[in-house]
Symmetry: C2
Subunit: 324 residues, 2 copies
């Protein structure tokens, strides 16, 4: 089996590559080779047991998708995207990367007639407020960003190309990834991770919203688990509704902080500085809080067990088991 990861230089892409390179297998079949593709050069995976190639390029560029699909992958993970804020600021760039790039990929698969499995990383940004208390699987998608619009359009295309038999695709609406490793970033959702990661590392973090804000989270390890599970699903049995909301953990910021206190004590919590930002609070008010992802659970996608479990995964995977 040949496996391609598009967007392999991203955080989830890197963790997925590590896992595949280490396992040397996917969905019960050995991986003959792994191709990592991104605009930026992906790092080599840790502990690779299989041949790994690394390639750079712009998926939306002329001939690029055909070149990639010419490598004849059996499974393609498509994780590449211009992020929400950038797609909002640069309308053309967002549509070019997030819509046209994906469409090129689908067209290349159609032209190759090999019907590969495609696992597409979609997002809960396909939803837009107002919402019911818990968003069900049949709730409509009314995105409030260009990014969410682009993700939803890709979901629709992947369902249609799958229905026509050009490929065998599935779109996973990933929760917000928490705790996101690395430096604090400027994404509007960054604070959900910042207020956990920084205190666990002995550093201060800013909380710009109220503790009552509820949101929907999955750990990086669990998100990688969703992608792997999707690669092995029998999709003919799934039917034509190929966009699936992944199960997350719905917690308030207050509950996040309580979990941090149980794991790392008051001194960690004391590193969270409250600096209310009404503008950001307004943005966050439009985001989904909680889902009822029955379909994903029926299909065997396994969520994190609790927000505390999410923190423990971060400590194991990123901090070598140690907290400050």
């Amino acid at each position: 089996m040949k496996v391609l990861i598009i967007g392999a230089a991203g955080m989830i892409g890197g963790k997925l590559a590590d896992r595949l390179a280490r396992d040397g297998a996917l969905a019960g079949a050995p991986i003959a080779s792994l191709l990592l593709y991104d605009l930026h050069r992906a790092r080599a995976p840790h502990g690779a047991q299989i041949p790994v190639d690394i390639s750079t390029g712009d998926l939306a560029g002329a001939g690029e998708a055909h070149r990639l699909i010419g490598w004849a992958p059996d499974v393609v993970f498509h994780l590449a995207a211009i992020v929400s804020g950038e797609a909002e600021q640069d309308f053309d760039k967002g549509y070019r990367s997030n819509l046209d790039g994906t469409r090129s990929l689908l067209e290349a698969m159609r032209a190759a007639s090999r019907r590969p499995r495609l696992v597409f990383a979609s997002s809960i940004a396909v939803f837009g407020a107002p919402f019911p208390e818990a968003i069900g699987d049949e709730f409509f998608t009314t995105p409030l960003t260009s990014y969410g619009t682009q993700k939803r359009i890709c979901e629709l295309l992947i369902s249609d190309y799958s229905r026509k038999g050009f490929l065998d695709g599935i779109s996973l609406r990933l929760p917000t990834i928490c705790v996101r490793p690395g430096e604090p970033n400027k994404a509007a959702s960054g604070f959900f991770s910042n207020i956990m990661r920084e205190p666990l590392a002995g550093k201060e973090a800013v909380l710009p919203v109220s503790e009552a804000v509820m949101h929907w989270h999955a750990s990086p390890r669990t998100a990688v688990g969703f992608l792997l599970h999707a690669a092995g699903l029998e999709l003919d049995a799934v039917g034509p509704r190929r966009a699936i909301t992944m199960p997350g953990i719905a917690v308030t910021v207050g509950e996040q902080i309580a979990a941090l206190r149980r794991i790392a004590g008051d001194k960690a919590v004391a590193r969270i500085k409250r600096e209310p930002d009404p503008f950001l609070e307004g943005i966050v008010a439009g985001w989904p809080r909680k889902f009822a992802p029955k379909r994903a659970l029926q299909l065997g996608f396994t969520p994190d067990q609790s927000f505390e479990a999410i923190l423990r995964i971060h400590i194991e995977d990123e901090l070598g088991g140690r907290i400050v």
Copy 2:
């Protein structure tokens, strides 16, 4: 006010053009000129009180959308589409016309920076079975055809371009149009109209499905009314959810036939020949039956009063008030 109709050679486009040309006004403002555009040459409207230009071309062709928007329309009705069956048979043609053509139009509007009103004819084909008994405004869209997929993508684009302020758009999910005038056509949904129109004209018609089949209908006159109402709506008050299911009449085929009997008697009903077609019955089983279009009713879209009223509109508008 300058008004452009794209898809003016179609049945609804022609009736809309007649109405605008006769009224000489739209949403309370006088129409300075009307431009009719289609791949095929549109006929001149009946009883025009205003200047009318007729132009032919392919909306998806290079420079074509810019040329049209260069005419500086204040209101654009976009009704042009490759129909469902053709979009299913010719994948490239469907995406080119129904998606790329519309996207060119949106891009031309964005480039012109005049923020025209755009009224887009969408379809209940954005929905795919299984359904609840009556489909609510917040039910998700899982199209089962490429046509439905393309319509849904255009809805999403129009909402996003509207949110960004590039245009001021609304998508109307029209019911199946019944009674459709003209010759019997090969559309899978054609029989809903055929079994009414042909008997009213003294001719035989084939009923290929069971009388228990329920479907969602609007008369051509009422559909034109939806388009006119949408052109004058205060859309800022409508908010960002710009795709709206239009109100129709949900009746079974048996109820259609009972209405025909009340209006035209047993001799008309006797012209309906039952020739069950299991393949077609299978297709129809995937179609929406009934909606609960609360939002459209709140926004003042006025449906037909009954299926009998739909028949009376056909007799008035197409048969000069006479039945055989």
